[in-house]
């Protein structure tokens, strides 16, 4: 029989309710899988065996008592380590938060717990979610389960590697410029970035407040939908969270694409894209056409400038968001004769190179005399991009593109040149700038057996149609490959 760790959330839920196995069995299978894969992947920074076992036993007891919390009841899930968990170390993969234990749970964590989910632990990320390969972690990189010589993408690379390898049934990551969708693409998963404000950011360690959104990573569209339904909806603790109720996306998966207008974005389908990625993308578009979708060509002229815009706005916001890490109230302190000296030393030693670079960049972009030329202008260009999207959505119900220009790249391949690294988010970060939802799902493998991701974008609050299209593509493409490392048998590197 198949290893429990490889079940979908849906299948696991059915088995639980049939009494085939308990939540504790799902957890033990997951921990057994992790005990094998972690040596190769380093997907997790913390595995909370004790807490998870307690939660799993509680979930079984509740279910036995007829207290069914729904689709995530008893399901082992992982959390990106920039989501605050009360009593469980939360570091954002930074030296400056080594050993930090939050006194509160993020809203999404509260909601998962309330839904009966079992938190397995905290997954690795690029420090403070700044990166696209999970190589910028103070605690060492995570590797890709499809090929341990490759990166899993980032910044939610640990979460993606864990879900792909079966050391979690699903996970929550955060997406500021593609940090859920790009690792999902590179690890053969479904990953979604909801509309800005759809999911509460309370308890997410902020990177860029106007771009950050928490999103699910899962092995199927339906699993991702169940995760999103559990965390979406207004939160009074987040002033930017959207007040109107979030419609269920798991109820929106049927209906197909008949008559739906699917837009191909000129600026996201041209040069700079790996040939195999491009071919797979076009083949999938053709399949959609065969299934009755109306394919239209649209243009987002400003998308060409999204990268430069993003790399002014995100660093500016992060330079303020990360100012609180100063050695006074928590985290790393490097002492000095004065508080000023202590703060500067703590920050100088506590932050890694990518974070330091972005703080410097953002501080400069906001400083007197440069604000208008950099941050101010970037915010105006952001408006132009949103106008481009608005026009495109008059002609299309959803927009599609490759999720990333390439499949997984090698460890160390892009670490020396920040700009080439930034380029792997070029197709995902426009949705963050626009505040619109985006989703990546796997549509095939390249010659090296590495997954290729397909991105579906929708207008604000368009999650239902976005998931409906994704579900149809999943059916049509029938991608069912699993990474060789997704096994509980000991494998040699």
């Amino acid at each position: 029989m198949t290893d429990l760790a490889d079940l979908s959330i849906v299948a696991a839920g059915q088995g639980l309710r049939r009494g085939d196995f308990g939540a504790i069995d799902l957890l033990e299978a997951t921990l057994r899988r992790a005990s094998v894969t972690e040596a190769h992947l380093h997907a997790y920074l913390t595995i909370d065996q004790e807490g998870a076992r307690t939660a799993a036993e509680a979930a079984d007891a509740a279910l036995a008592a007829g207290d069914d919390r729904g689709p995530l009841h008893g399901i082992p899930l992982a959390l990106k380590d920039n989501l605050c968990t009360r009593g469980l170390e939360t570091t954002a993969s930074s030296q400056i938060l080594a050993g930090y234990v939050p006194p509160y749970d993020a809203t999404v964590v509260k909601r998962l717990r309330a839904a009966g989910a079992v938190v397995t632990g905290k997954t690795n990320l690029d420090e403070f979610a700044m990166g696209s390969s999970t190589e910028n972690s103070a605690y060492g990189p995570t590797r890709n389960p499809w090929d341990v010589a490759k990166v899993p993408g980032g910044s939610s690379g640990g979460a993606a590697a864990a879900v792909a390898a079966g050391s979690a049934f699903g996970a929550l990551g955060s997406d500021t410029g593609g940090s859920v969708r790009q690792p999902a693409a590179l690890c053969g998963l479904v990953g979604a970035k909801p509309t800005y404000g759809r999911v509460s950011r309370y308890g997410l360690i902020a990177f860029a407040s106007s771009l950050d959104q928490i999103g699910p990573l899962a092995r199927s569209v339906e699993d991702a939908a169940l995760l999103l339904d559990a965390i979406a909806g207004w939160d009074p603790a987040d002033a930017t969270s959207i007040r109107q109720p979030a419609p269920s996306v798991s109820d929106a998966l049927e209906g197909g694409v008949q008559g739906l207008r699917v837009g191909i974005v000129a600026e996201m389908s041209g040069e700079g894209i790996d040939a195999e990625v491009s071919a797979a993308f076009r083949a999938t578009v053709a399949t959609l056409a065969d299934a009755g979708a109306e394919i239209v060509n649209v243009s987002l002229p400003t998308a060409e400038d999204a990268l430069s815009t993003y790399y002014l706005i995100a660093p500016a916001e992060c330079s303020a968001n990360l100012a609180r890490f100063d050695g006074v109230r928590y985290g790393l302190r490097v002492d000095g004769d004065t508080t000023e000296e202590m703060m500067s030393r703590s920050r100088g030693e506590g932050f890694g190179p990518e974070v330091t670079r972005r703080i410097l960049l953002g501080t400069y972009a906001l400083s007197a005399g440069y604000y208008d030329a950099f941050y101010g202008q970037a915010q105006k260009v952001r408006t132009l991009l949103r106008r481009d999207f608005a026009e495109a959505y008059e002609r299309a119900d959803v927009l599609v593109s490759p999720t990333s220009p390439t499949t997984a790249f090698g460890l160390g391949e892009k670490t020396d040149d920040p700009l080439t690294m930034y380029f792997s988010d070029v197709f995902t970060l426009p949705s963050n700038l626009a505040g619109d939802p985006g989703l990546s799902l796997p549509i095939g493998l390249d010659h090296a057996g590495l997954p290729i991701g397909f991105q579906v974008m929708a207008p604000a609050l368009g999650e239902p149609v976005m998931f409906r299209v994704a579900a149809e593509i999943e059916r049509l493409v029938g991608f069912d490959a699993r990474p060789s490392l997704a096994t509980s048998e000991v494998v040699l590197p």
Partner: protein, 96 residues
């Protein structure tokens, strides 16, 4: 025109104690990255309002109600240095 960032000044503003070698490297990288901003700086944006928030809404308030505060011991347990219920820091410039 090529950008040249006064990186030492920026590092001081950002409270980052960096070595000269680090300052030099970051300075060069900032100049390069900001060079790519020239394109967007050249874009015509007269009369274009800035986007500070991608999902426009107004007036998100909370009622004036008291909620429980944190347990002080739990808070101070995370502090690098604390004494008698206070956080403790090295002397503050201008406050001696």
């Amino acid at each position: 025109m090529p950008v040249h960032v006064d990186i030492a000044k920026v590092a001081k503003l950002a409270r980052l104690a960096l070595t000269d070698e680090q300052l030099e490297r970051y300075g060069a990288q900032l100049d390069q990255i900001l060079g790519h901003a020239e394109r967007i700086q050249a874009m015509p944006t007269e009369g274009v309002p800035p986007t500070a928030h991608p999902y426009p809404m107004t007036n998100a308030f909370r009622p004036d109600e008291v909620a429980p505060s944190l347990d002080r011991d739990e808070v101070l347990a995370q502090a690098p240095d604390a004494v008698d219920g206070y956080f403790r820091v090295p002397r503050i410039l201008g406050e001696e």
